[in-house]
Amino acid sequence: MAGPSLQHPSSTPPNPTEVAQLEEPLTPLHQPLLHESGLKHTSGEARYVDDLPSPPGMALCLVLTSPHAHARITRRDAAKARAVPGVHAILFAEDVPGLNDVGPVIHDEPLFAVNEVQFMGQSVGVVVAESYDACRAAAKLVEVDYEPLPAITTIDQAIAQGSWLSDPHVMKRGDVDAELWKSEVKLSGEVRTGGQEHFYLETQSTLALPEEDGSVRLLCSTQHPSEVQAIVAHVLHVGRHLITVEVPRMGGGFGGKETQAAPFAAMAALAALKLKRPVKIWLNRDQDMAQTGKRHPFMTRYEAGFARSGELKALKLELFSDGGFSTDLSRAILDRAMFHSDNAYYVPALMFTGRVCKTHLPSNTAFRGFGGPQGMAVIEAIMSRAAEVLGLDPAELRAKNFYDDAPRNVTPYFMEVKHDRMPRLWKELLASSDYLARKSAIESFNASHPHARRGLAITPVKFGISFTTSFLNQAGALVVMYADGTVQLNHGGTEMGQGLHTKMMAICAHELGIPPASVRAMTTATDKVPNTSATAASSGSDLNGAAVKVACETLRARLQPVAARLLGVPSESAGDILFAGGKVFLRTRPELALPFGKVTQEAYLSQVPMSATGFYKTPDISYDKSTGRGKPFHYFAYGAAVSEVELSGLTGEHRVRRVDILHDVGASLVPTIDRGQVEGGFIQGVGWLTCEEVLFDAKGYLLTHSPDTYKIPAFGDAPLDFRVQLLEDAAQPDVIHGSKAVGEPPLMLALSVVAALRHAVTAFGRPGAHVDLKMPCTPEALLNAIEAVRSV
């Protein structure tokens, strides 16, 4: 085994004298770097909320949930339950001193149901007791009578009954009906995509600690500590200054802990304040899956007009998402689906209309891609179908429709596409994946194999980066320097495994010219950086990284005059003093270098302030929903994938044989971390599109509430041959150190697997046979599609 050639941000104890000797590499930025928590994870010492030592007197919680999808509550009696030994409290809506609501944007989501329940699993109350045994015993004795009401459990029922959570959002350009009428080839149909359970390995959990002055400290597994703080404060009817939320780390988030950690945190905080004792809430897997929302299922009706040459002329879409019982983030998710209904293609004439359906199901929520995948799945299905109908190579047809020079450079929401990487990326990937040769090899295979067919496809991803609610694009950092030259780094982003802390440490170390081992990333907490946005929308590195940089620049500017004095440099040259490799030196005289720790020690003695905040807001973004026009994104992230599958005509099972990905992360901040995001995001997308099927029965009962019925990808589902490359020489202007966001975009590369499966399905029938392949492409869906093309 080769010796470890990588730096571990926390592997070396900081030592000022050693720091001074460090010469290469001069910066940890754009270099491979190990995960900041790697040693803690591999040794088992990394602590998640449920691993924290139980404080004395700690009570536990069990949420009382609705057994009906929709019902009126007619009676409630907890007297017998309260008498169970070990029970501390049973709390209902009337025990909430403030607002009984946890809706993040709109107050339509009660913490505890009052007169009506609106999904099976909705919280009616919470039992707080000394043990789970006591919780369960008491829960059985809580009497709640319900009068069932008719429930809406599908998008189709919601449309038929006019059950909505939003008004229509419209984007339009040109006269779409006239252009459709004129088109040489007109396609129409509907595309459905299913829900997806986040299946973060660590379920929702919060430990609430009551402290002095009626304050509460929450240790919470959440992507959005500031929102948890705000919601807990209004539930408790106290100022936010009395609530501190700290995130030790998360065992995965994927969007599922953006808004939906808040209700459970609020229950624990409420109980902690009432009982004046620590309270922990932790959901087991089945509870978590039944009580929390998932990726929004979508149903989209389309009409598309093409020229025989394959050029898309007009596109009319009606998007309907299943929001579940409350609004949560559904409107923004629908918006993002519409913003990505073009994917990488120019659409000359269009009308997109989107609306969120209200159903009696858990409130669907953020999930990696945030509607983007649902929007892109539709246009990619249309592109595949157009190629089948027109008898064109799907790769050529796609490339023909890419954004191009003006006027073909304007999105459906009138944003100009700049720095378009797609043509270059597409060409490089077609070549490196050997697409054409493999395609003809597959045709030979398909012509000769008795019962299996292979498919090959390349699909693009263009993903808009920024929160589409423009004001959210802000971030803060607090960098604290000690006299010995070591640094504590606080920023507003949360660590859910994605490596954000590692990237922030690299930026901080780079700006101060010190090794990452001298920087310690602190747990994210609302008492360090206030009013933060969620770590979401792939924005964590862009926003927080820029804020960290600003804070470090402030500190550097304060240290320069100190170093100038020590170096005997005139104060007017202080601005030429550099910080690199753990040393501080004048640009022109690097041989006279001071250890960073010596400068900080001198700064302390000279009464120089040693901490600084940094703040960043994304410039130049805005969107007007009423006109469907604006520039909602700072830039676009690009990628493309070539997938090859083999499909059995006997069982409908498939294997992903090989995947080639070329992804644009700009000048990667930490390439090892980005590679992990690309690979993991892709597989998560493959899961959504092939093996993960969220199923509710007609009464609104979640049939797939644990891994025994809900299948996320396992080892056997990873591609047999997986080749991931990051696009080279791709620095992005106006983003932190030329990098680009990477969290969500790779998920949508998985659409190449669906396109490849369609290719394989077509090979079972006559050319041009209509392929009706449902997503997720389970063996059942694939077998149905195969049977359909065979019978034509």
Partner: protein, 172 residues
């Protein structure tokens, strides 16, 4: 509440003998996490489907969430906290770290114990054997490829990935 009678049991965990009082229905995972405070073993699904609770019992990987503590009486249990020998990390631990085979880390301990058990049996497994041996451990973050790579690294069949192959841009 009336609680079922507890029984005193003894087993060896990470080289130390422990005596603890458990109820007959206490799972091994509960005993490890909440009695012995060894929280490296995780509860991911509580029904033996995700593998996050995997520990070694007499060297064999077992799902501690569906094993009763009493069935481990007199046996030798290894958790992630005991995988290293003193200060020397097990090769699997180093390899997972160096290969980036981890993100959120929650599946990590179970994954590494399954891998360690495989290597004890089969010091040079091929990729299919690695996938087979680890197929009971779910990971939601990594996409698995880097985990298979890590086990190959731990078994000396692969060098730590040559990071220079990947695009790195030097400071301007």
């Amino acid at each position: 509440m009336a609680r079922p009678a507890r029984e005193l049991i003894r087993f060896e965990v990470n080289g130390d003998w422990h005596e603890l009082a458990v109820e007959p229905r206490t799972t091994l995972l509960e005993a490890l996490r909440y009695v012995l405070k060894l929280t490296g073993s995780k509860q991911g699904c509580d029904k033996g489907d995700c593998g996050a609770c995997t520990v070694l019992i007499d060297g064999r990987p077992q799902l501690s969430c569906i094993s009763l503590a009493m069935t481990a009486v007199g046996r030798k249990i290894t958790t992630i906290e005991g995988l290293a020998e003193g200060n020397r990390a097990h090769p699997v631990q180093d390899a997972f770290d160096l290969c980036g085979a981890l993100q959120c880390g929650f599946c990590q301990s179970g994954m590494m114990l399954s891998a360690a058990a495989l290597l004890a049996d089969n010091p040079r497994p091929n990729r299919d054997e690695i996938k087979q041996a680890l197929s009971g451990n779910l990971c939601r973050c990594t996409g698995y490829t880097q985990i298979v790579d890590a086990v190959e690294v731990a078994s000396g069949q692969r060098d730590v990935p040559e990071r220079d192959e990947r695009p790195t841009t030097r400071r301007k």
